[in-house]
């Protein structure tokens, strides 16, 4: 099993969720995130004052998938989240030793 984590632009969240559903993903965890990458934040003007946005708002998605599905899911996220601009985000995959479904006690692929 793999854990696919994606940091994307908040405004692409709905598109990515739709793409994941189309790819057969049954569940996803979505949370608010903030950070910066190569752009090192940026400046904005609000209420007449210029201020630096050090941490840019992002959306974090986490999906647990079977090993065989990891590449498909990653591609689905990348395709749906891509705008071609700086700050589109990152997707990474890490191996997962085990997964347990709390309600039933099932483990492994059965718990996905």
């Amino acid at each position: 099993m793999k854990l696919v984590t994606a940091i994307i632009q908040p405004h692409r969240t709905d598109e990515v969720r739709a793409a994941l559903e189309a790819a057969g993903v049954k569940g996803v965890t979505v949370s608010e995130a903030a950070g910066y990458g190569r752009q090192k934040g940026h400046t904005e003007v609000y209420r007449g004052a210029e201020y630096t946005v050090d941490l840019v708002p992002k959306t974090r998605l986490e999906v647990l998938v079977d090993d065989a599905d990891a590449a498909t899911v990653t591609e689905a996220i990348v395709s749906a989240a891509q705008t071609g601009k700086i700050g589109d985000g990152k997707v990474w995959t890490v191996p997962v030793d085990d997964v347990a479904r709390v309600r039933t006690g099932e483990h492994g692929a059965d718990a996905l």
Partner: protein
């Protein structure tokens, strides 16, 4: 099943006795179901269930104790008050005179009494005390003292129970200066832990603020003889909460007090509500009524304590040197010892501006209304339409009085004035919001939004536009609405015409109500870098910077008022980015 007589039907000989308490659990549940299906509801059903339980306990006592002297069985809690539900606990006190029966005999009797009750599957809260111990415990333990105020004889020596009751009441009144803050602190602690009954989607009927525990506290407060407690609508509210509790017990099959979502539909149906939201609205109304009554009774008790001169020496000296303070604070309104009252010379029935003037004065000064003033406000004639300038000024001052607005509006709403001023308010009054992010009903949420919007008053060119919009921004969230922003905007012209708002002001409020979610939606779901996103926002607001910054302030206030976790730095950053880009596009 056995015939369930009314409490007034008389002697025990008329009804068959249950054999002790062995079958009491089943008999009580059957009786509750039968009474409900016979249409016997509310207090009468609880009286009959209480009578049923007491008869069973008398039979049990006769078997366990016989004609023993110097002892009695007393009931406290719901059984003592005569409002026991179908699954209520049995709160019992084995009372003794401390001399007639030996310690061992009492212990044996207690075993003969309590174990069959437990064996019958009934929830039992018990104690065994002498008269002296009753008074000692009551002097140290607030909960025990408040419970013992309700003690009623069940079996044995009735005189003993009467003596205990008289002594406890006497001690309670003598210690009122100590008891009052304790009672109120306990109420506040419950509110902090369980929230406000009126605004919870899964309310704790007993412990939440405005719940059954607070309703019972009203009687404990009035038992101090410091003040009377309100009756009428408050008692109706309390009985309604008991009806809901009883229905919840029957539906759940156990004595739970939290009306969970999974039970709400069945409880609503049991009580004859077609829509569970209507049940929640009725609970909200009852909770608000009880909470307001508790506050009102508390103020009365505090005033009595201050006036009685049994307080500190310094206070007495101050009181003796000064006459009661009657200060004119507005036309026809006076400050009487920290409360807003009607001036003796005022004629409420000829003064349509009185309610709004009093509301604005209360909001700006923080003075609570006296009950007499609220009655006078209810009796004031309706305002002409459109409202005169003075009325709009008072409304403006009311909405600007953010610090006290919630308390003032609560009083106005409970006395029917909010709906009189804005009939559209009836559609959202006490209306629950099932979204987990919301902590308040729709009407209270709008008032909270006004309060929070005050923090942004300096960020916007017209603070009154911000307050007026916040005040009605969810007015379209009524039953059957599919898009509350659009439905709410459609109601604004009528409100504006009634209140005499200028056409431009009305149109601006309408625009902001229609688009009050737009900034939040666009900033979180669309690319702020995209000129189309900025264009959509500005098109909606007529490319006006004043509306843009007002919407930004409203968005934050609305989110904060919804719940503590809604407005995050994440959302703020997104909203600020889009707002900044929209402002830049205007220059």
């Amino acid at each position: 099943m056995e015939h369930i007589p009314s409490a007034a039907e008389g002697s025990d000989a008329e009804v068959p006795h249950p054999s002790g308490v062995r079958d009491l659990k089943r008999l009580r549940a059957d009786a509750a179901a039968q009474l409900t299906s016979d249409g016997v509801t509310g207090p009468e059903r609880r009286r009959r269930l209480t009578a049923l339980v007491k008869r069973a306990l008398v039979a049990h006592w006769n078997e366990a104790a016989g004609p023993a002297e110097g002892i009695a069985l007393g009931a406290v809690g719901s059984l003592g008050r005569g409002d026991a539900g179908p699954l209520s606990d049995l709160d019992l006190v084995l009372l003794h005179d401390g001399k007639t029966q030996s310690k061992d005999a009492l212990a044996e009797l207690a075993q003969r009494l309590w174990y069959p009750i437990w064996d019958a599957g009934l929830e039992l809260d018990y104690s065994m005390r002498s008269l002296t111990e009753c008074r000692q415990v009551a002097s140290k333990d607030l909960a025990a003292a408040a419970g013992l105020l309700d003690i009623q004889p069940v079996a044995g020596d009735d005189t003993l129970v009467a003596q205990a009751r008289a002594a406890i009441y006497q001690d309670w009144r003598a210690a009122s200066r100590k008891r009052l803050p304790e009672l109120l602190a306990a109420s506040r602690a419950r509110a902090e832990r369980h929230g406000e009954l009126a605004y919870l989607i899964e309310p704790h009927l007993k412990e939440a603020r405005g719940g059954l525990r607070d309703y019972t506290s009203l009687s404990a407060l009035s038992a101090t003889w410091l003040t009377d407690r309100p009756h009428g609508v408050v008692d109706a509210a309390g009985e309604h909460l008991r009806d809901v509790r009883d229905a919840l017990h029957l539906v759940a099959g156990r004595p739970v007090n939290v009306l969970g979502r999974h039970l709400a539909d069945d409880v609503a149906a049991h009580l004859g509500y077609g829509d569970p939201d209507d049940l929640l609205a009725s609970i909200a109304d009852a909770g608000r009524t009880v909470a307001y009554a508790l506050d009102q009774t508390e103020r009365g008790a505090r005033r009595s304590l201050e006036r009685s001169g049994i307080g500190s020496v310094a206070w007495k000296a101050r009181r003796l040197s000064k006459a009661p303070r009657h200060v004119s604070v507005a036309e026809g309104l006076i400050d009487v010892d920290g409360e807003l009252a009607l001036a003796p010379s005022a004629d409420a029935k000829a003064d349509p501006l009185l309610p709004l003037r009093a509301a604005a004065t209360a909001a700006t000064t923080g003075l609570p209304f006296t009950p007499g003033l609220l009655d006078a406000m209810q009796n004031a004639p309706d305002l002409p339409e459109p409202w005169p300038e003075a009325a709009r000024t008072h409304l403006r001052d009311l909405l600007r009085g953010s610090h006290h607005l919630v308390a003032v509006w609560e009083a106005l709403d409970l006395h029917g004035l909010a709906v009189r001023w804005v009939p559209e308010w009836a559609g959202v009054r006490n209306r629950p919001q099932r979204s987990p992010i919301h902590r308040y009903t729709v009407d209270r949420h709008m008032i909270e939004t006004v309060v929070i919007a005050a923090k942004h008053r300096r960020d916007v060119p017209d603070q009154d536009l911000l307050f007026a919009t916040a005040w009605v921004h969810d007015i379209g969230k009524r039953a059957g609405s599919t898009d509350h922003s659009i439905d709410g905007a459609a109601l604004v012209p009528a409100i504006g015409a009634r209140l005499g708002w200028s056409p431009q002001f009305t149109a601006d409020v309408e625009t902001l109500v229609r688009h009050h979610l737009l900034l939040s939606i666009l900033s979180t779901t669309r690319d702020a870098e995209d000129p189309a996103t900025v264009g959509e926002l500005l098109d909606a607001l007529g490319h006006r910077e004043d509306l843009l910054v007002t919407l930004r302030a409203l968005t934050e206030a609305d989110s904060h008022a919804a719940g503590p976790k809604v407005w995050t730095t994440w959302r703020a950053s997104l909203a600020d980015t889009l707002t900044a880009k929209a402002r830049a596009a205007l220059t």
